[in-house]
Symmetry: C2
Subunit: 246 residues, 2 copies
Amino acid sequence: MLYVVGIGSGNKDNMSFACYDAIKKSDVIVGYDKYISQIQHMIQDKQIYQSPMMKEIERSKKAIEYAKEGNTVSVICSGDSGIYAMAGLIMELAEDDIEIKVIPGITSAILASSLLGAPIMHDYCSISLSDLMTPLELIFKRIELASMGDFVIAIYNPKSKKRSEHLKESVDIMLRYKSKDTVVGVVKKAYDVEQEVNICTLESINYDDIDMHTILIIGNSSTYVKNGKMITPRGYEKKYIDKMNS
Amino acid sequence: MLYVVGIGSGNKDNMSFACYDAIKKSDVIVGYDKYISQIQHMIQDKQIYQSPMMKEIERSKKAIEYAKEGNTVSVICSGDSGIYAMAGLIMELAEDDIEIKVIPGITSAILASSLLGAPIMHDYCSISLSDLMTPLELIFKRIELASMGDFVIAIYNPKSKKRSEHLKESVDIMLRYKSKDTVVGVVKKAYDVEQEVNICTLESINYDDIDMHTILIIGNSSTYVKNGKMITPRGYEKKYIDKMNS
């Protein structure tokens, strides 16, 4: 059996019971170094196969191999296992001679949102700024279309050493459609001891403060701040506002 | 203290430890009838305030009132508490005289995806077809923009008694940009005993089989089916395909 599990933020609080159980009953744990270290205390009695970032194909093949040998295997993903994670790659590479079970988790945009207040609430887009696998042109096109549609936008992988300007360019595109006062939530290392949560606007983002572990939630035209929390109302209709006041 | 908790699919497996703990330590549980009945076994010793759908404002006000009186209160949401749920409304209505904590959960699109295989994986949009709070025109515009961007699209609230044609119209819009062979995952009552999981194409959707509890995941141009699972590959780049074959 091969479980592909999403561990949420990595601490038990944001882990599902199914995720915890799958890890506990596994013989072998496969994952990226950083995620393995987050759950180290849970897996001390287990065989561990870990490797650095960018070694996803190797890890997937290894996990499949262990499962074929009859082991119960958990492949560890941050957030959810099916969003910018390993479930797809494993299914692309595996044949039908092993059973694969995807254990869902809380994705990073949702974790970040819970710390900001209620910034998503309504229709939203999730976009990664990593152009390792996706042409930059398509990424910017998506940023533009999402802005045109007044979606809330969750930005994954906003920056890396090799990509420092993509976020600025994305914000420039957004500013063609979204007001400069649009509320933006910036969350670094959600639910970690080093967690940072900030609320700013589209024109006041502190780019130096953003790294690959940061998630940005860009509000829609109705998003506002109240009592330090970022809130996107449920709807646009006047009847909703009327209801609120009744 | 007022917790707004996302219970995922409602069974313990897809609930986070933080969600479980918040419910367990609450004096009062507030929620929509159906969600309350899903966690009935956990809350037998507690005061319960439940009401039907559309009574969200009343429920929110009541929850705030209980918290002000000094109770620990949990407001129950399906999926995540911050996506098409109650966190925003409560923060809109509350003042800063009570503490509010949003406990994130696994949203329905992610629950559905885990049963389909790995259909999201990459950039995606989440769109609700309910026009109770959002003008239909804006909903259709979002469907169009999401299709133009080759996003994976998660559809929430595809149908109700009053809205039976929105999904068909949405699919007609998608078909202007997406191939009729685009893979579509249809999941009804994920992780419930009555769960139904089907994979079809954009032109073979069985509209009679869809209700308000159904989530649809519309693939992007790379999504395919393998061993009965719906898979969206991680990337678009040729180097990725080359890597796969190396």
